[in-house]
């Protein structure tokens, strides 16, 4: 029955040759498990589209109803927790998978001739996905959504020249509110998906048109004596033909892609079913005890704001963002050496490692920072020394860590009693130091208690 249906269609459209060409074309040897991340990205994007479209059936993009509608999806709609959970968790996993996909492409030097355009469309796709993430998590309109958007749009607003303009375009007005939510919804549901579809199509067209890059070889293939002096394109074509000759049909690789997609699907489903979509309290623009914190994939950037200070900060942020965009986008143009093997590209590989360590380090610091305005400690029992209480109430813990608890902006004070004398401590507290405000208003009793406590830390 199925065969007859296919034959009926094919008699009219003659598409089977295309299908066979797609499946049976040879791909170079060594296309294996490292290559599943591209198709995994596509798979997760499809999951996003599928679940996202259905979420709009219940979701209401207004400040009055957004939060309750998400709550309704989570609690009342059959499979609501599952559908919303898949949307949320596959987005997080998508960011990781894209990162690995880019690293694989980078390590294999696959962005080099003739695949520069594939890399560029890929970088555009990365930023589109980040834009999806940023616009998407305002939509539940909970505390995290609201405050992360306040901070996120303010970062854009800090940019030189176009900052104010960008801020208002993003917010749809001056404040984050109904207009912002409406606008982010439009971006998230219409504009970004349209752009994404276009770039995914272009990216895939390039991948299929050019074939998958062969894994790099330490020793180049022997192209024959007459290869010297041939134009670059002909050398490449001869090389790639040899790689394909030694390779296998594409349908062999596709099984690995399918297995990996299945694993991802199971992982996402498990996360959706167990954790669902955690909601914070509804957005409250008037909360003064809330500690704004972005989604984990923006924590690195959030943490970076600790280190840029003063009048040059806006320019610094702008240059860092512009730098990251340009470094990624223009990679194939400033790295023009034809060498593709990672072992022979020590500088490129070292740069990648530094970038990974920086991103992971900042994310880690951002994740473990408790926020710099600790709530005054609860009264505490007799066991808590008065100085420790003072350490909390004066806000010291916002920047300083003692015994693993506290902020990271200032020095760790866990052993400060062994490092500074009481007089030195007193001077620092009363007069301040670089990056630390003077606490000159402190009462003598509080100061005394604080000094006793700090001296005892050895």
């Amino acid at each position: 029955m199925w065969r007859r249906a296919v034959a009926w269609v094919d008699e009219r459209l003659n598409v089977m040759p295309l299908w066979h060409g797609f499946l049976d074309r040879k791909v170079p040897k060594g296309i294996g498990w490292f290559h599943v991340f591209g198709s995994a990205t596509l798979f997760l994007l499809v999951l996003q589209f599928a679940t996202g479209i259905f979420l709009t059936v219940y979701y209401a993009p207004s400040t009055e109803h957004a939060y309750e509608s998400i709550k309704f999806i989570n609690e009342q709609v059959p499979f609501g927790k599952y559908v919303a959970g898949i949307h949320l968790w596959s987005a997080s996993i998508l960011v990781v998978v894209i990162g690995v996909h880019m690293l694989r492409t980078f390590a294999y030097g696959a962005y080099k001739y003739p695949r520069e355009t594939t890399w560029i469309t890929g970088v555009v796709l990365l930023f589109l996905v980040l834009a999806f993430a940023f616009t998407g998590y305002l939509l539940p309109y909970d505390q995290k959504a609201y405050w992360a958007t306040v901070v996120g749009t303010n970062i854009a607003g800090a940019g030189p020249f176009v900052g104010d303009w960008a801020l208002r375009v993003l917010r749809g007005g001056t404040a984050v509110g109904a207009l912002t939510l409406q606008r982010f919804y439009a971006f998230h549901i219409w504009l970004l998906p349209a752009a994404l579809a276009l770039f995914v199509a272009a990216h895939l067209f390039m991948v299929i048109r050019q074939g998958i890059a062969a894994p790099p070889r330490r020793r180049p293939l022997d192209l024959g004596a007459d290869a010297a002096g041939l134009p670059r394109r002909e050398v490449y074509e001869r090389q790639y033909a040899m790689e394909k000759q030694a390779g296998h049909p594409f349908y062999v690789s596709i099984l690995k892609d399918a297995v990996f997609a299945l694993l991802l699907f199971l992982a996402v489903s498990a996360l959706a079913l167990t954790l669902g979509t955690p909601l914070e309290p509804p957005a409250n623009p008037n909360a003064t005890t809330y500690v704004p914190r972005p989604e984990w994939y923006f924590l690195d950037f959030f943490q970076l704001l600790w280190y840029l200070q003063g009048q040059w900060e806006p320019l610094g942020i702008f240059l860092i963002v512009l730098g990251v965009v340009l470094v990624l986008l223009l990679l194939p143009f400033y790295d023009r050496s034809p060498e593709r093997h990672p072992v022979r590209r020590p500088i490129a590989m070292a740069s990648a490692v530094i970038a990974i360590v920086a991103v992971m380090g900042l994310t880690y610091l951002g994740a473990r920072s408790p926020g710099s305005a600790p709530a005054p400690a609860a009264a505490g029992g007799a066991a808590v020394p008065p100085g420790a209480r003072e350490f909390q109430t004066q806000g010291c813990a916002g920047c300083h860590t003692i015994a693993g608890v506290g902020g990271t902006a200032g020095p760790n004070l866990s052993h400060i009693g062994g490092l500074l004398t009481r007089a030195q401590l007193q001077t620092t507290i009363l007069n301040g130091a670089t990056g630390m405000p003077a606490f000159s208003h402190i009462s003598p009793e509080a100061l005394n208690a604080l000094l006793n406590y700090l001296e005892s830390l050895k």
């Binding site: 104010d164 509110g177 405000p437």
Partner: protein
């Protein structure tokens, strides 16, 4: 018949068609894209209204021309402490008019004087917390610290806490527009 044309004739004819096609597509695109982009960027383009007034701050645009909103009697307020107070501000957000609750810090500085601070850190807009024991506003995000008068003591904030205009009339405190740097 086209295929009977000499090579040269066909290519000039084809070129002419392509040019015309390009002109038509270009015209339709421009006539569509320019209005669509301006439509999208409306909030930034409409310069005449109060859009630009609030710059990088958070509170919404007040609706009324009468700028003074009653905050409360000054009498019972303690001096020196910054008190969180919620004021209902008539605001206009696009097509929505509402009396929006806006929370501010009111700090009474004398028998008939007070300062009203916006709760948002001037760095990235996180809500600052008043710490009574230290007499400071602490930002929970990146270590910004302001003294009781809103001046920056440390951290990345580029300017003091934003203030609202205040008026005291017969012992009653009124709140006005947000005063922004340079205004």
């Amino acid at each position: 018949m086209a295929q009977d044309e000499p090579q040269e004739g066909r290519s000039t004819r084809r070129q002419a068609v392509m040019t015309a096609l390009g002109a038509i597509v270009g015209f339709i695109s421009a006539a569509l894209v320019v209005p669509l982009v301006v439509f999208l960027f409306g909030p930034a383009v409409r310069g005449k209204s109060s859009w630009g007034l609030l710059g990088r701050s958070i509170p919404p645009t007040p609706r009324s021309r009468e700028p003074w909103v009653r905050v409360g009697d000054l009498g019972p307020m303690p001096q020196g402490d910054a008190v969180l107070t919620t004021v209902r501000l008539p605001v206009q957000e696009g097509w929505i008019q509402s009396d929006m609750p806006v929370t501010v810090y009111v700090r009474r500085s004398g028998p008939d004087s007070a300062t009203i601070y916006d709760i948002h850190c001037t760095h990235m807009g996180c809500p600052v917390r008043w710490n009574q024991a230290a007499g400071r506003f602490l930002c929970p995000c990146h270590g910004g610290v302001f003294d009781g008068d809103g001046h920056v003591l440390s951290g990345p904030p580029p300017r003091p806490l934003d203030r609202y205009a205040v008026k005291v009339d017969a012992g009653v405190l009124y709140m006005g527009a947000l005063e922004l740097p340079g205004t």
